[in-house]
């Protein structure tokens, strides 16, 4: 049982993920280099970002092999950040609107 000694896994898993991270980083750099714009740019950036983050957390940080008691304690609290992001998006839209009304700058 690997868990009694600690997290021991075959090196090949790590090497594969390592290569994959390089490929994904190159892809996300290419998004900027190719000057992709709009929704395509954003969906690709977010896709590569979440894939990279997911592989780092799951394999490099061993969450994939941890017991659910630990992985749930780690992975569920950050979900509330989505609420925070939502609140701040509404707030910044409002600030932007009032700034434009007040200063009449527009952009």
């Amino acid at each position: 049982m690997a868990h009694a000694e600690g997290q021991q896994h075959p090196l090949s898993v790590y090497i594969k993920v390592w290569v994959l991270l390089f490929v994904l980083s190159t892809f996300s750099y290419m998004v900027d280099y190719m000057h992709l714009e709009g929704y395509l740019r954003w969906s690709l950036i977010l896709l590569f970002m979440f894939l990279k983050a997911g592989f780092i957390i799951a394999v490099f940080m061993h969450i994939k092999w941890e017991r659910w008691a630990l992985s749930f304690a780690i992975c569920t609290p950050p979900v509330v950040l989505l609420v925070f992001i939502g609140i701040m998006v509404i707030e910044s839209d409002y600030t932007f609107l009032t700034r434009n009304l007040f200063f009449g700058t527009g952009s």
Binding site: G6, Q7, Y14, M49, A53, M61, V89, F96, R99
Partner: protein, 242 residues
């Protein structure tokens, strides 16, 4: 479990159920919630969770100022471009820094693996390589800061290229991340030294904690280092690619 069991002795792997049943049983059980997880690793995870919220606060405040500014944001792709005698290549330094950090994550994961195989020399060597990659990352960041402050005239309160919030967001986010990398390098060197001396083979007691050290510390160190890489993934996407 027999009463004389210490906290390090946990239920046999056979007793622990996987999945959702295991989750509810672990959380409702006596003594430890995180079965088969060394205390140091559990504490590191909780620290990293708190750090997640700190970095999230930085990134969310950056999002807020960027979305609410009526002045155009500086063209990030051009600001961070670098020319090697020819046409400036956009974001090239940031791309190199990204690859360096990923490489260091790879050497770290190998160090953890060789640590559990009790391969003292390879573990120490890989930790030192990881530290060197980390140090070069910080060096490049110092170069980037210098270029931005001296040549581009970026200040926390303003810059010649656009929205004045750019400087404060940039210095706070990358500065805090660079500080994490620097602290990581320091601890990598300290742990590499202990591994090299063989402290974890004889379970020598730590200087501060007086607790027996073993190769699990390398994995705990690895968690921190991968987290630093993880944060960079988000900074790269939101700050440099937006």
């Amino acid at each position: 479990m027999a009463p004389q069991d210490t906290s390090t002795a946990v239920a046999q792997p056979g007793d622990l159920k996987p999945g959702l049943t295991g989750l509810t049983e672990d959380w409702s059980s006596d003594q430890r919630t995180f079965k088969n997880v060394p205390w140091g690793k559990a504490m590191m995870w909780i620290f990293l969770l708190s750090d997640t919220f700190i970095f999230s606060c930085f990134l969310i405040s950056y999002m807020t100022v960027r979305m609410s500014t009526a002045v155009a944001w500086p063209p990030v792709s051009e600001v961070f471009s670098l020319s090697f005698g020819g046409e400036p290549i956009p974001l090239i330094l940031i791309a190199i820094m990204t690859f360096i950090l990923i490489t260091s994550s790879g050497t770290m994961v190998l160090a953890v693996n060789y640590g559990y195989r009790k391969d003292r020399k390879k573990t120490a060597l890989l930790l030192i390589i990881t530290a060197l990659f980390g140090a070069s990352f910080v060096g490049m960041q110092a170069f980037e800061w210098t270029k931005l402050i001296v040549e581009e005239g970026v200040r926390p309160w303003g810059n010649p290229m656009g929205a004045s919030q750019f400087g404060s967001a940039f210095f706070m986010i990358t500065g805090f991340h660079g500080f994490h990398v620097s602290v990581g390098v320091l601890f990598l060197v300290l742990i590499a030294r202990k591994v090299w001396r063989g402290d974890y083979d004889i379970e020598k007691k730590g200087f501060f904690t007086s607790r027996k050290g073993n190769y699990e510390i390398v994995e705990t160190m690895g968690l921190y280092w991968h987290f630093v890489d993880l944060v960079w993934v988000f900074i790269f996407a939101f700050f440099y690619l937006w």
